[in-house]
Amino acid sequence: MLFWTTIKLALRSLAANKLRTLLTMLGMIIGVGSVITMLALGHGMQQQVLSNISAMGKNLLAVLPKWTGTNGVINATRENLTVGDARALLRDVPQIRRVTPVLGQGEQVTYLNKNTNCEVVGCATTLLVVHNYTIAKGRMFNDFETRLEAHVAVLGPQTAYDLFGVLNPIGQTINIAGNQFTVIGILKSKGSRGWFNPDNQVLIPYTTGMDQIFGRAYLDHIDMQMAGKANVKKVLNECIAVLRRRHHLLFGDPSDFQIFSQEQLLQTVSRVTETLTLFLGAVAGISLLVGGIGIMNIMLVTVTERTREIGVRKAIGACNGDILRQFMLEAVLVSVLGGALGAVMGVTLSHFIHFQKFVAQVQTSNVVIAMSIATGIGIFFGYYPAWRAAQLNPIEALRYE
């Protein structure tokens, strides 16, 4: 039988039972729609987290003291990272290009009668490059000022707004924990990252911080930037060797520090979010399966209802394959049309969610995959009813009331 005629007949018999067809399709619509939406949400979340990590800088390594504790409860943070460690890393590991010691804590910062509570960070000039900050106004403090333990500060844009409003803060004097600092620069906004807002901080020279504000000889962490094409594993091993030597650790002693690489973090996070995305998609996929069972159910009813028609078709010369194709086509059409409507729904829903402060990114490949699965389900669940129809005995089918 000619292909287009078969399609025309199938469409017509679907149109004859509009409500039933629509209800059957609903399973596919909801299934495909939710799969696409869930995958879009998962993918959007992954992209957001990854871009947050990337925004921290490029080719980052961070050395932190190792936590000690029992049963996962942190009870002490070792104070063992020094400025000397930072210098040694820069000097002895060739692939390390920039290093900045970092130490900080929350302090009250005031200007005249205004005050704000924010993170005061002691760091080196290189922090700007390592963490990919840009100066919006004024300048960063330089190495000379660092050596002098100068009382200079660079403000995050949020902090600057909180203290100065629309006034120009450059050259003004602020008070940090009882010490006068001159504002010399403002950072460009990077946007909050949830757990840490880089727009709300005050950068001061680490020397000033250690000796005059925090009174600490130890660093919170050492941030480093590697050369662009460095072998991360090799650099990590070299850093570990340098630090173990400096910390006088013997062979077999556990390290009292840990080094995180941005690359590893990116990999771990994207693995985790990918798994999460797949899980979301699989949960939504169950509704596709249920939709498929719905199609099978309705097709079985349809075959029974149209037993006589099948008998007539067989009597006038339809072979088993013709009948099989006709009913398969109806099932596949329902699932394909349902899948297409579901794709429209999923994309629309994803866009709607996207504008509600969530991030949802629809990937074309996911739409294609969801629709292919819908088609496959139509074929899988449509086969048995169609096979039953094809096997009907024409004499009994003609006699069926």
């Binding site: 067989k314 009597a315 006038i316 339809a318 088993n320």
Partner: protein, 261 residues
């Protein structure tokens, strides 16, 4: 080796082209069954629905198959219509042995060689007259199906009802569409199962007149009926009882005059 098979190998179905009405007595016959047996098992007991039926129908004949219910006439029609296969015996259509074919091969034979007309019309709802009539051609994969379907509808006198759906037609008109569907493939034989059973007598007479016309055009028609009046209208009657042919010949009472007036 059975003589019947030898015969078909030497003379493969030339009858159809040679003549339509004449030469009835000569040749192997358009349709020929030989000792056909069909058994059913009902409640553990074997019932012979057909018990050695041998009939020969020549091209251009108009034959009635009669008998009471349970006589085996429906079973014979199912086998003649290739809807069923005999348990034993042979069945030839135009020289081709069709008694041992598989279901898809039988479907092909039904499609090309046989036109069915049913008591309850059995048109497909939601399809127009033309679409119903062209269906066998579509299953045959033939081109210009719509044009041929229109032609067939003209023959049965429904040239003005081409796009009507079955529920917009009267019973007689529906049966005409069914007859158009039966003749559109130009089959070897038209099998009509109680074609007037669901019609009032006026429509029934019209349908019989249409069969008469088709018969005069040289088509081979078999009408299965329990109505002696319809049997009398046919030149030949095959009367069945208990799965056997009881009588085969000119009907007892001629009814043709009543139709012809």
């Amino acid at each position: 080796m059975r003589p019947v098979e030898l015969m078909t190998q030497t003379a493969p179905a030339p009858a159809r082209l040679k003549s339509r009405v004449g030469a009835v007595a000569a040749g192997p016959g358009l349709i020929r069954t030989h000792n056909v047996v069909k058994r059913y098992v009902v409640g553990g007991a074997e019932v012979r629905a057909l018990d050695g039926v041998s009939v020969t129908i020549h091209e251009g004949e108009l034959v009635a198959i009669t008998g009471s219910s349970g006589s085996g006439k429906s079973t014979l029609m199912n086998i003649l219509g290739c809807l069923d296969s005999p348990d034993s015996g042979d069945y030839f259509i135009a020289g081709e042995d069709v008694s041992k074919l598989k279901s898809d091969q039988l479907a092909r034979i039904r499609n090309r060689r046989i036109g069915f007309v049913f008591q309850s019309f059995n048109l497909l709802p939601r399809l127009s007259s033309v679409e119903n009539v062209e269906l066998p051609l579509l299953y045959a994969g033939r081109h210009h199906a719509a044009a041929k379907a229109r032609e067939a509808l003209e023959i049965v006198g429904l040239g003005d009802r081409l796009d009507h759906e079955p529920n917009q037609l009267s019973g007689g008109q529906r049966q005409r569409v069914a007859i158009a569907r039966a003749i559109v493939t130009d089959p070897a034989i038209i099998l009509a199962d109680e074609p007037t059973g669901n019609l009032d007598s006026r429509s029934g007479d019209e349908i019989l007149k249409l069969f008469e016309t088709l018969h005069q055009q040289g088509r081979t028609i078999l009408i299965v009926t329990h109505d002696p009046d319809i049997a009398a209208f046919c030149p030949r009657e095959i009367n069945m009882r208990d799965g056997k042919v009881l009588r085969d010949g000119v009907p007892a009472a001629s009814f043709a005059a009543k139709i012809g007036d």
